[in-house]
């Protein structure tokens, strides 16, 4: 079952007094696909990576809530942080698969949060997890690829493995950082469809950073527009008028 995310006054400064994120407030609940759009360098990736703490936020709170439980992702450390990360799956722009491991091993990295180092070293995983991995491979259309090495796959296949790996965590939330930016248009559409369908099937919220406004319009149930470290639009995809796009990206010649 999905969790909800409540970001409160989130600030991130890579250099002192030069904030990239300037007080983000964002609530994500339910099981829809939220697309975050905005120009390069506006902090979309930073926002997503603050959620699972691959980047340390400077100020603010990030609450992950499910059924009365609430944890502030911005302040926890160590064991508590790793436990929280297990609940959040992540898909990357450049897939970030471990190239020299097989597809099956890459999928099982999704279970490492639940595995002791000794068992991980012996590649000893729960039989139910291995069974689930085979099911997920079939779901993403890669049955028969379990023993291939990740570096033998094409870009689209790798991203499917990336999605399956994130879902192996049985996450309560899925983050995707520009999952289609390295892919061709047809594969991009397939990947977006997978993210939307699987998010719905698991009934978890999916947050996708994306550059392609058309893809965002087509697949998102909600669009968040960012510009200059602020959220400047938050609403339904059909509210994305030229004026809104102008506010997000600036200029207008590219719109015609």
């Amino acid at each position: 079952m999905g969790a909800s995310l409540h970001i409160i006054e989130l600030v991130k400064e890579y250099r002192a007094n030069q904030p990239v994120l300037k007080g983000i407030n964002l609530d994500i609940t339910g099981d829809g696909l939220t697309a975050v759009i905005g120009p390069s360098g506006t902090g979309k990736s930073t926002l997503l990576r603050c959620v699972n703490r691959l980047i340390e936020p400077t100020r603010g709170r990030i609450l992950l809530k499910d059924e009365g439980n609430s944890v502030d992702l911005a302040s926890i450390r160590g064991q508590a942080l790793r436990k929280a990360r297990r609940r959040i799956g992540m898909v990357f722009q450049e897939y970030n698969l471990v190239e020299r491991l097989t597809v099956m091993e890459n999928l099982l990295t999704g279970r490492l949060g639940y595995t002791t180092a000794f068992n991980a070293w012996r590649r000893r995983f729960e039989p139910s997890d291995i069974q689930y991995a085979y099911e997920l491979l079939e779901t993403v259309g890669l049955q028969g690829f379990a023993n291939q090495r990740a570096d033998a796959l094409s870009g689209g296949q790798r991203q499917r493995v990336g999605i399956a790996r994130a879902l192996m965590q049985r996450p309560q939330m899925l983050l995707a950082d520009e999952p289609t930016s390295s892919l061709d248009p047809k594969t991009s559409v397939e990947i977006m469809e997978l993210l939307l369908e699987l998010g719905r099937a698991q009934r978890i919220p999916v947050i996708v950073n994306i550059h392609d406004v058309e893809l965002a319009r087509r697949y998102a149930t909600r669009i968040v527009g960012m510009s200059g470290g602020h959220i400047v639009y938050d609403g339904a995809p059909d509210g994305m008028t030229p004026d809104v796009l102008k506010e997000i990206y600036g200029g207008e010649s590219w719109l015609s």
Binding site: R82, R85, E94, V98, T109, G110, L112, A117, W121, R165
Partner: protein
């Protein structure tokens, strides 16, 4: 000004050496001549040396086969020293290298382990062997310790560098799954560097085999001691036997190292190896920065 520029451009020769480079070359040449005069070489000495060398080579043959038990005892001890030192060195350099990698560890961990590795590299194995002979006495223990130190220095340095070159994207993805630090090492770091680690280790075993025949000269066990005393007693035919055996063992070691690498890295089975099928067994798709 404009005129001056044109004329100097016409005169300038491409590819000309700068005066600093010329001065440097002259200096090196002068030093070489000076060094040669300092060391007292002469043509006469060279000539008589050639004659002595020819006589020495003549006395090497035929190799003696009388004291094979002495030979075998020394060789066996040398191999034991090499294998034990390699094992110890590999086992110890793994954690030290991990601690020394600046992309994974904080400065308080990297500095001490880098210092250990640098210290292990700074002295030649024979000098280290002399120190250990003084410390623990004559015999194989000193040899094992000396070559362990050498192994840590070599594998430790190269392995640290290999770890520092890994792709952090893969590490990031595994961290994002909530994996503990140990699991990140096992699933994201080791797969990226394991191939090179095996390569360094087999090379070090090879190098330890060679060095284990030498530490005996200073009393640290192995065939080196036997070789040295054979030299001193002018048993040149026995010297020849020892040298031939050492050459044979080093070659065997190299073949063994290649087999290990083929099995561990290219997934070649032993039967395939004997059928002569080496090299990459399948085509792989091109990969980005990991190719």
């Amino acid at each position: 000004m404009a005129e001056l520029k044109v004329s100097s451009a016409q005169q300038a020769r491409p590819f000309a050496l700068s005066w600093q480079a010329r001065a440097g070359l002259v200096l090196i040449l002068v030093y070489a001549v000076y060094a040669a005069t300092q060391l007292g070489f002469s043509w006469d000495r060279f000539q008589s040396g050639m004659e002595l060398g020819a006589r020495f080579l003549g006395r090497l043959f035929p190799p003696s086969v009388e004291r094979l038990d002495v030979l075998w005892k020394g060789i066996a001890e040398s191999m034991e020293i090499a294998v034990l030192a390699s094992m110890l060195g590999i086992l110890l350099s793994l954690p030290i290298s991990l601690l020394g990698a600046r992309n994974l560890m904080p400065a308080w961990a990297t500095w001490p382990s880098r210092a250990i590795i640098a210290l292990c590299r700074s002295l030649h194995p024979v000098i280290v062997a002399i120190i250990f002979v003084k410390a623990v006495g004559f015999g194989a223990l000193a040899g094992v310790l000396a070559l362990t130190v050498a192994s840590i220095g070599f594998i430790g340095k190269l392995f640290t560098e290999a770890i520092e070159e890994i792709s952090l994207k893969q590490v990031e993805a595994v961290r994002a799954s909530g994996a503990s630090f140990a699991n990140v090492i096992i699933f994201a770091v080791m797969p990226q560097v394991f191939a090179r680690f095996v390569g360094f280790s087999t090379y070090q075993l090879d190098s330890n085999l060679r060095n284990s025949t030498m530490v005996g000269i200073v009393g640290a066990g192995g065939i080196g001691g036997t070789l040295f005393s054979a030299f001193q007693r002018f048993d040149y035919d026995f010297v020849c036997t020892i040298l031939l055996t050492i050459i044979g063992i080093i070659m065997l070691g190299e073949i063994l190292a290649r087999v290990v690498r083929a099995i561990l890295l290219d997934n070649v089975t032993i039967s395939e190896l004997f059928r002569g099928r080496t090299g990459p067994t399948r085509d792989r798709a091109p990969t980005g920065d990991d190719a």
